[in-house]
Amino acid sequence: MKGKFDIDVLVASPSTITNRRVQRAMPDYAKMKKPDVKLVVLGDLNVGKTSLLHRYTERKFKDTISTVGGAFFLKQWGPYNISIWDTAGREQFHGLGSLYCRGAAAVILTYDVTNWQSLAELEDRFLYLTDTANSDCIFAIVGNKADLTDPRALVAEPEEEEGGDEKEGVPWANPSPTAPPMFRKQVFREDAVALYSRILRYKLLDEAASMPAERMCFETSAKTGYNVDLLFETLFDMVLPSILRKKSQNESPTVDLEECLEVNRTKDGCCT
């Protein structure tokens, strides 16, 4: 079921975990906490959605299998919990997309820079799924696998100690950054920018009032970590206003029984 750009399975070097930001380390109470905001990663199968999330949350690139249904991660961002939903790219699970997108504050539309069809699919199959997202939802268009076409993306980001190990599994002969890439780049940044403005039109959004395309189109590599942190952290910062708005709305008559647990207990005394 893996496609022809199936570099994922080739890499199986046991890499050490970098100590910086060991998100994996503890299943914190955060896991049980209600997320404040939702991000959804959409895209055709095998564009690397799960790998992007792995790279961001676990700081490594590892073998993934085709996602079944969906999965989600909780990320503590300052005082907020951000849930990031990884969706399945397989056609079979396509119907679940709008369920995942409902109430999303940001959608990451992912394509594969070496595969033109994966960009086209975003518009044809995935865009309408976002109809259920928030009205102020932010869209990011992400071209993954940049390491296959762009020498710059080959350079692992400084913190990635295991970068060296991984290159052993890279399927091209010469892993040095100057080597000519073996894959032809099929999708260029301009194509992504054009798609972004078509999305704004589809959403009937004013281009001037929305985030500029330059900031919302990324080219990343889950394998080397290129631009991955930038992508997620940019989006987190952008959804903060949405969280705050949600919080202020929630200070409404609804009583959150869990929150008031402590208060009730102290009041016991006066009820006798």
């Binding site: 503890m26 299943p27 896991k31 249904g69 969906g70 999965a71 699970f93 679940l96 369920l99 109430g103």
Partner: protein
């Protein structure tokens, strides 16, 4: 992967239900408390009483006792059964008709009102909006096309309350509050029957595969999704949990927190809702029904009924921990947080965290272990006790029971691998360092600090001394043998000192310095002791060890006294006289001490000054007769003596002079004479005996320093006189005299000198002196002229001022009257009032007397 979360226990065996009748199958089941109802395809309802008991082997078992069976009188299968225990009714769906029967005797309720016809399927609302406890709300899929109805079932009747239409034919339904969760033929949807609002969930082909709609909690449903997924969806149409991955052939699903149990053709699978992982798989053939009833998961094949008994949560967690699956265990524990009372949860959670920490500790994953120890508020001593001999013998600690880990001690854990042991020790060091200042160490500070001390000592760690030098709670009795064992005598001394046993500390250190004990911690331990004594407030101790210190090295030893801060504090004060008396035995030391008193502290006491001078002198005298190799030393010693003699004014000059009388120390003698103002003697010695003219000149300068010019002149004349002394004429003296004159022309009275000089001296010889003297005289004259002129000018100015202030003449005549008494003036004496008005002197005096306020200002003399 596998956790044992459930155990499959048979409940109703085949022979109890249908015996050997092959065609009879179980169609539906209902379980309510101990009552189990089974509906079969031959239109029977069987009623069992399920008793739980524990077998001698400790396993849970069920024994079913058949109470009743009832034939409903139709040839159709019983499709669904639901108990309404509050009403004591059983709701039965058979032949597209819902009937209500008595729970106990299974007889139909008498009136015909309790019956709904044309029903495909129904569900009970377990979270109804109406709070009436004596009715049950049903959601019914009607045989009528695309309709869902809401009924209220009372003890003896049913009532239609709502009918809503759906876009497609519904085939499964679930109810929660106002929300209907429906499986339609091509999709799932949520429908609010109160407002009519609807929310599409996701597409699903119900024709192809039987949909599953299962309420799992407040406004949350579990749905079978394409690809064998179990999807979670809330009433708002949002998914809050990731889906679980069932097989394509899933038949039924049930929820028993935190697990989702699913049944397919060959297996029962258990997934965790917390991490969506498959936790357990049980092989089960011919599975037909899987349902949960008030937390009890019941499973049925076509012929028999089983119960999936969940293992106690703690047991599951312990199993996970035993399998070293720390994260899963913690996830499971934290997932159960809401189902367990808070205080009980905290105790359990803490224990699990601690256990998890020990597992990771055993795997040498110290970072994670530390985090878990911290979160689990581990009693540090649990960890310390793993390390043999670290806990003080006096510690009251006993390990917690049941044990938190499987390790007897560190050696057991490391299996003899010394490198592992070392890593564990390093970890404990870092851990104890972190916790010793936090509240974790409360109540066991002694144990923690003592253990840390032992570890430091053993590892030869540099922080050992820091620990002992700062505030600590190390137990002396327990630490001392350990430190001795590791030859940390210096550290042990510090510990004694911390416990105010300075004497013991000093004894120990002295033995180290003497080489009786080996400890290389400080190469300068001797200096350290001296320094320590110099600060030690306990004088007895100082005296006790001073002798040892001085015998070892007087120069350093004397610092005990010289470094001691001068304080008014009586307790730590040493009388200098006592010290001197004590130091008399030590030549070097006493010099250093006297120097300290006289030169550094500038104590103005004749006794010390004289003593020091005598000591210096003795030293010089001692050195003099020795061989010439000591010239350097002699020079130094003499310089010291000379400096003292020159600088100090306090020593007893005569005493020293007597001592010097017959020695070669001419310069010193001259200085002493100078101190006595016997300058002629001094100069005589310098010129005639020492024959050192520059020194003689220097003497004059020194002796006249801070005196006036006359004194200086007198000294220089004296020197000149000595040079020219006719008693001992000589060329060199003449030359010295000439040089003196020429060099210090300004110091002499030229006329006086000229009178003294012999006639025969050439003018050329004295030219510098003469021109200097002349220039000096000239300068003096001119200066005085200038001064005179300036004084004259000043005088003139003053005169001018005086005249100005006096104003014009005051006229007094016989014709002019006094302003005060109006009589005329008979004498020229008068007083001028301010403004120049003349009055009689007596009138002015009178007026001054009358107005006492003005008495001071009317002093007549001001105005006359």
């Amino acid at each position: 992967m596998s956790v044992k979360a459930f155990e499959l226990v048979p409940a109703v065996e085949r022979d109890l239900l249908m015996g050997d009748k092959a065609r009879i199958n179980i169609e539906c089941i209902e379980c309510c408390g101990k009552h189990l109802y089974v509906g079969t395809n031959d239109c029977f309802i069987h009623h069992f009483l399920l008793e739980e008991h524990t077998t001698p082997k400790g396993k849970l078992a069920f024994s079913a006792q058949k109470l009743l069976h009832k034939y409903l009188g139709l040839k159709k299968p019983v499709n669904e059964l639901k108990a309404a225990s509050a009403l004591e009714r059983l709701i039965v769906l058979c032949d597209n008709t819902v009937t209500v029967v008595d729970m106990v005797n299974l007889e139909a309720v008498s009136s015909g009102g309790a019956r709904i016809k044309g029903v495909v399927s129904f569900c009970v609302n377990e979270n109804p909006v109406t709070g009436d406890p004596f009715c049950v709300e049903l959601g019914v899929i009607a045989a009528k096309r695309r309709t869902v109805q809401i009924y209220m079932v009372y003890e003896d009747r049913v009532q239609l309350v709502k009918e809503v239409s759906t876009p497609e034919q519904p085939c499964a339904v679930c109810l929660d509050g106002y929300f209907l969760c429906l499986a339609l033929s091509t999709q799932y949807m949520i429908l609010n029957y109160n407002t009519g609002a609807s929310q599409d969930l996701f597409p699903y082909d119900s024709e192809e595969k039987k949909p599953i709609v299962k309420r799992i909690g407040r406004e949350e449903f579990l749905l079978a999704a394409p690809g064998g997924l179990g999807m979670f969806a809330t009433a708002e149409g949002v998914s809050q949990r990731a889906p679980v991955n069932w097989s394509e052939s899933v038949i039924g699903a049930a929820v028993c927190f935190p697990y989702v149990v699913a049944l397919d053709e060959g297996f029962v699978t258990v997934h965790s809702m917390l991490d969506q992982q498959l936790k357990q798989t049980l092989s089960f053939r011919d599975g037909n029904i899987l349902q949960d009833f008030e937390g009890k998961v019941v499973l049925a094949s076509t012929k028999a009924v089983y119960v999936l008994v969940p293992l106690p949560l703690e047991r599951q967690i312990q199993d996970l921990l035993a399998g070293r699956r720390v994260e899963e265990a913690l996830t499971l524990a934290e997932g159960a947080r809401r189902n367990i009372p808070k205080d009980k949860f905290q105790i359990m959670h803490r224990r699990i965290l601690q256990q998890a920490g020990f597992i990771q500790f055993g795997q040498l994953q110290f970072l994670e272990a530390k985090e878990h120890f911290r979160k689990g508020q581990l009693d540090v001593r649990e960890l310390i006790s793993l390390y043999p001999l670290l806990l003080p013998s006096s510690s009251s600690f006993t390990r917690c029971h049941p044990p938190l880990h499987e390790f007897a001690d560190l050696n057991h854990l490391a299996q003899g691998d010394q490198e592992k042991v070392q890593r564990c020790k390093l970890f404990l060091i870092s851990y104890l360092r972190e916790v010793r200042s936090t509240e974790v160490a409360n109540g066991c500070r002694e144990d923690v600090d003592t253990a840390l001390l032992k570890l430091y000592a053993e590892a030869n760690h540099e922080s050992l001394l820091d620990l002992l030098a700062s505030e600590n709670a190390c137990l002396l009795a327990d630490s001392a043998p350990w430190l001795e064992k590791h030859h940390k005598y210096f550290a042990l001394g510090l510990l004694y000192r911390y416990h105010s046993q300075d004497d013991a500390a000093l004894q120990l250190w002295v033995r180290v310095v003497n080489g009786d004990l080996q400890d290389s911690t400080r190469s300068d331990l001797y200096e350290y002791i001296v320094d320590f004594l110099s600060f030690c407030p306990n004088l007895d101790l100082v005296w006790k060890y001073a002798e040892w210190a001085l015998q070892k090295d007087q120069k350093v030893g004397v610092q005990i006294f010289t470094r001691r801060a001068v304080s008014d504090d009586q307790a730590g004060h040493l009388n200098p006289d006592t010290v001197i008396e004590y130091l008399l035995k030590y030549q070097q030391a006493i010099v250093l001490y006297l120097e300290h008193l006289v030169l550094d502290r500038r104590v103005q006491k004749e006794k010390f000054h004289t003593h020091l001078a005598v000591v210096y002198l003795d030293k010089v005298l001692g050195l003099l007769p020795q061989s010439p190799t000591t010239t350097q030393q002699v020079t130094e010693a003499r310089e010291q003596l000379q400096n003292l003699l020159k600088e100090s004014n306090l020593y007893r000059v005569q005493l020293l002079l007597d001592k010097l009388q017959d020695t070669e120390l001419l310069l010193e003698r001259a200085t002493l004479h100078g101190k006595l103002e016997e300058h002629d003697k001094a100069l005589h010695i310098l010129v005639h005996q020492l024959k050192d003219f520059p020194v003689a000149e220097g003497y004059c300068m020194w002796a006249s320093a801070s005196r006036d010019q006359d004194y200086q002149q007198r000294l220089f004349h004296l020197l000149l006189g000595v040079y020219l002394d006719s008693d001992a004429p000589g060329d060199e003296h003449t030359m010295a005299a000439v040089d003196l004159l020429n060099r210090h022309a300004g110091m002499f009275d030229a006329t006086h000198v000229l009178r003294l000089l012999p006639e025969g001296w050439s003018l050329q010889l004295l030219r510098p002196f003469l021109s200097g003297a002349l220039r000096g005289a000239m300068h003096a004259r001119r200066t005085s002229q200038v001064a005179l002129g300036l004084a004259g000018a000043e005088n003139l100015l003053l005169k001018h001022d005086r005249l100005k202030y006096r104003g014009g003449p005051v006229f007094v005549s016989e014709k002019k009257g006094c302003q005060l008494c109006h009589n005329t003036f008979t004498e020229p004496d008068c007083v001028c009032l301010p403004g120049g008005v003349p009055v009689h002197t007596h009138c002015a005096a009178q007026r001054a007397r009358d107005s006492p306020r003005k008495r001071q200002s009317t002093n007549p003399s001001n105005h006359t």
